[in-house]
């Protein structure tokens, strides 16, 4: 089994890692990052978890089967292409909503961003499907 040191370190690194991955996702549209790298880092966090506590524990922490997450991610990415149609535009046309955070400051939420979220979840699911499957190999 892995050492106390590693387990403890993992326990404390896990949340910041997840957070960092979301940070990369959110900032991806303006700065380097994006759903892909974000998803990979989130996956890396769970991979680390599985190294430290075993695949079973990591699966429990994830709550859902990674393959479902993957499918959901794909579904999000696909669905993000549809809103444009309701506005008479083409499939995958970007539709943007300005969400006021506080007076004067708005957050641009757009279908391309939702698409990126789909990428995030797909990549997360993919990486974990792989890591768990290889990890469970005898």
């Amino acid at each position: 089994m892995s050492s106390i040191i590693f387990r403890t370190a993992t326990r404390y690194m896990f949340p910041p890692l997840l957070m960092f991955s979301i940070y990369l996702l959110l900032r991806g549209h303006h700065y380097p990052g994006g759903g892909f790298v974000g998803g990979l880092l989130a996956g890396a966090a769970f991979a680390l978890h599985s190294f430290a506590f075993g695949v079973e524990a990591a699966r429990r922490a994830l709550r859902r089967d990674p393959r479902s997450i993957m499918a959901v991610g794909l579904a999000i990415a696909l669905l993000s292409g549809l809103p444009g149609l309701f506005f008479g535009e083409a499939f995958m046309a970007g539709i943007w909503w300005e969400i006021p955070l506080r007076p004067g400051v708005t957050f641009d939420l757009g279908t391309p961003f939702i698409f990126d979220i789909g990428v995030y979840f797909t990549v997360l699911g993919v990486l974990l499907t792989l890591v768990f499957a290889i990890g469970e190999e005898e």
Binding site: H30, P32, F36, L130
Partner: protein, 115 residues
């Protein structure tokens, strides 16, 4: 500069092909990896190394004032990197499984289906 990089691309392709012709499954995978590196670098060079400035618009600005690196080859390479990662991962598992079932990782011994 580009000439040097062209040689790098050539070397990557050459090493990749050489590894693919070895007998070991792992070398096959590594060879494929080098090949995809080579292809990516080729796109990068052929797409033109026109600037070292990242194509990212600074906060507060509305448009680019200087020449930026070409963003399109970058996007293409990103896609290609991800795809080849996916394929490498799958190939790895495939080879693992093959080794288990066939009982060897010697590619030269895998000719049952051809004759």
């Amino acid at each position: 500069m580009e000439i040097l990089l062209a040689i790098v691309v050539g070397t990557l392709y050459a090493s990749g092909i050489y590894l693919m012709m070895r007998r070991n499954l792992v070398q096959l995978i590594i060879g494929l990896g080098l090949l995809s590196h080579g292809a990516n670098l080729l796109i990068f060079i052929a797409g033109g190394l026109r600037s070292n400035r990242a194509p990212i618009l600074a906060e507060g600005e509305k448009g680019f004032s200087t020449v930026m690196a070409d963003p399109l080859p970058q996007a293409l390479i990103l896609t290609s990197i991800v795809i080849s990662f996916a394929l490498t991962a799958f190939a790895l598992v495939l080879f693992l499984k093959t080794y288990r079932i066939v009982g060897t990782d010697d590619v030269d011994e895998m000719k049952e289906t051809d004759t």
